[in-house]
Symmetry: C2
Subunit: 351 residues, 2 copies
DNA sequence: GCCCACGCGGTAAACGTTTACAGCAATCGG
DNA sequence: CCGATTGCTGTAAACGTTTACCGCGTGGGC
């Protein structure tokens, strides 16, 4: 492999100084003749700029990190799908971190910003601890947080509005005549878990429905756990007629268990998921799901970060993406509301 | 933010030379006293090593790139999920490229290896062109290809065996008594498309079934396209009794269309997908699917690359991951073969 | 015909590390 | 008691760029 050509090799071959080579390569004003010679030499040698040396001098890596809680979670993937092209278009590479929602790993990522291998970071922590906030304040590079963060945190922030989202779903169920509406939630010490639980309670209250502890079960944000929680709920409240699930995976678990228990969906029990992932459209019956705009949030986060990287020191900005209820067969009855091809068309929404 | 501390700042503060600081930081033999002073200074200053400068000098970036054809495709995601932790454990960061299966983009990625911002690359091209091979030969860093590559290519290579995979599926359908077995394939100029098409033909021949052009439809590897192709097939061959789909997305499209056409699955038409993605377990009826070991392939690729990065110049190696048929309700009848929790347990297979 | 301005291009320093080499003190063997 | 060895440490050069600065030659204005 012979240790590729450098700017020096070119300079020698073209008979000019390395400064000139650099200038040509960067398109700075240079005499035509010189440009020609340098270009020719570069071509012949198959020269490619060394990104590392460049970064060292220019203090810009043209890399951005995205720390996702879980590579397996389709909601984060939806973000990733949007983030990637935005960054790419702006000439940034994407470094992917998976933190498995482990706080220590997230802190690690924030700490590693000090190594300066990226120009900025997009992060979506499930839990936000005191330590997160400290590290955030001390961060050596701009950070955009996807998810809610306390008032006054000095970081750009993109939020979903799961409160309104849950509200949309409950109203929908209510309008369908459901009155025994259960909730299957994830851990309450997570940001989304807490928000969704509170919103559920609030929505019931506003509709004049009683809050019944037996109707609320806590599991984890995964399919098997969700199923387990549903089984528990069925045990206590056999006549439940609707389930609000804190995400789509839980809802899939709910479908599994309901089917096994001989309940018809939606005739006996209507099911609503959350995040409107690809799985919602793939399942059968297709899941009604509250879209929290994962894609839009990803896009917004990427754009905020780019803006901050290019622009200067504006005040931190908060973007809130409105939720949207996507109605499918799991609530809308036998009409098999065939929304079909999954991704493709959903282009409304977005602030 | 004040321009973070460098090795120089520490040296000054600790009253030693920068060489000593570097030595301490790298754990090279040093007097206890010196170690103490340096560590203290580093701590007080909140020093973090600059990765870029480090890379420049050491010629190692501790980054590896993964170029996936499509961030949306669950098969690639399965790879990603395995690649990420392997790299992380070895101290490498992951740079993610999405090429949208566009040849020019893939070539771009190969070319950019010359920038030396990564130590190696894992790539999974859908098509392999002459240009790919040229660039591969000239690549400035080790590359592992996931997918088949011509004999004699000097690159590590991880393959699926879709030939055997298709065979498993067809044999299964045959054993269930199906004789009018259709195939919905992706483009024939892709590596997997070609392989799967040929394998289908072969499998039929071996079973003594006639090859009927009307039973084969070509679409693309997506859901809507898959559905369209199935509709076409139904039109020509109304009594088709089984469908071999070239991937799970196509199979989902098939389920959509069959349902709309009033065909029962599997009673009237059995459906087999391929790749055994999460979607297969989520759909209803759950899809029988041929696992081509995406996860295993990802893992193997990462391990090959690491080995090459650490070890020296061994001969290129080819790893083939055996396929596995995962039987679910879409072929196995009403028994609703509840394989449930999606990921979690499937731990067999793997070479 | 001089001086100044201007356009180019070269020299060298810097970015923050790692590391070869040399120097120096202390220790050991003879 | 001296030379050689050993154990640490400091100096300086490199890694491959970008860029501030300076010098040179040309052309124009007076």
């Amino acid at each position: 492999m012979a240790d590729g050509p450098t700017i020096n090799t070119i300079a020698e071959r073209a008979g000019v100084s390395i400064a000139s080579v650099s200038r040509v390569l960067n398109g700075l004003p240079t005499r035509q003749e010189t440009v020609r010679k340098v270009m020719a030499a570069a071509d012949e040698l198959g020269y490619v700029r060394n990104a590392v040396a460049r970064s060292l001098k220019s203090r810009r890596t043209h890399q951005v990190a995205f720390a996702m809680a879980d590579v397996g979670n389709p909601a984060y993937l939806a973000m990733l799908r949007e983030i990637q092209p935005v960054l790419k278009a702006a000439g940034y590479r994407l470094v992917l971190h998976s933190t498995d929602a482990v706080v220590a790993d997230e802190i690690d990522v924030l700490h590693s910003l000090g190594e300066r291998y990226v120009d900025g970071l997009i992060m979506s922590p499930l839990r936000v601890t005191e330590q997160h906030l400290e590290m955030l304040a001390a961060a050596r590079a701009p950070v955009v947080i996807i998810g809610s963060v306390p008032e006054g945190t000095r970081a750009d922030n993109v939020r979903a509005d799961s409160r309104t989202g849950v509200r949309l779903a409950i109203d929908h169920l209510y309008a369908l005549g459901r009155r025994r509406i259960g909730m299957i939630n994830g851990p309450l010490d997570t940001v989304p878990g807490a928000a969704r639980g509170a919103a559920y309670r609030e929505a019931l209250a506003d509709l004049g429905l009683p809050y019944d502890e037996d109707l609320v079960r806590i599991g984890d944000f995964y399919r098997a756990e969700g199923g387990r929680a549903v089984a528990e709920l069925l045990d206590r409240v056999p006549d439940v007629d609707a389930l609000m699930c804190a995400n789509d995976l839980i809802a899939l678990g709910a479908l599994d268990v309901l089917r096994a228990a001989g309940k018809r969906v939606p005739a006996d029990v209507a099911v609503v998921g959350m995040d409107d992932t690809d799985l919602a459209a793939a399942s059968w019956p297709a899941l009604t799901s509250v879209s929290l705009g994962s894609a839009e949030r990803g896009k917004a986060a990427a754009e905020l970060l780019l803006d901050r990287l290019q622009g200067g020191d504006r005040e931190p900005r908060v973007v809130t993406v409105p939720p949207r209820l996507v109605i499918r067969a799991s609530t809308a009855g036998a009409g098999a509301a065939h929304d079909d091809a999954g991704r493709t068309e959903r282009k409304e929404g977005g602030a």
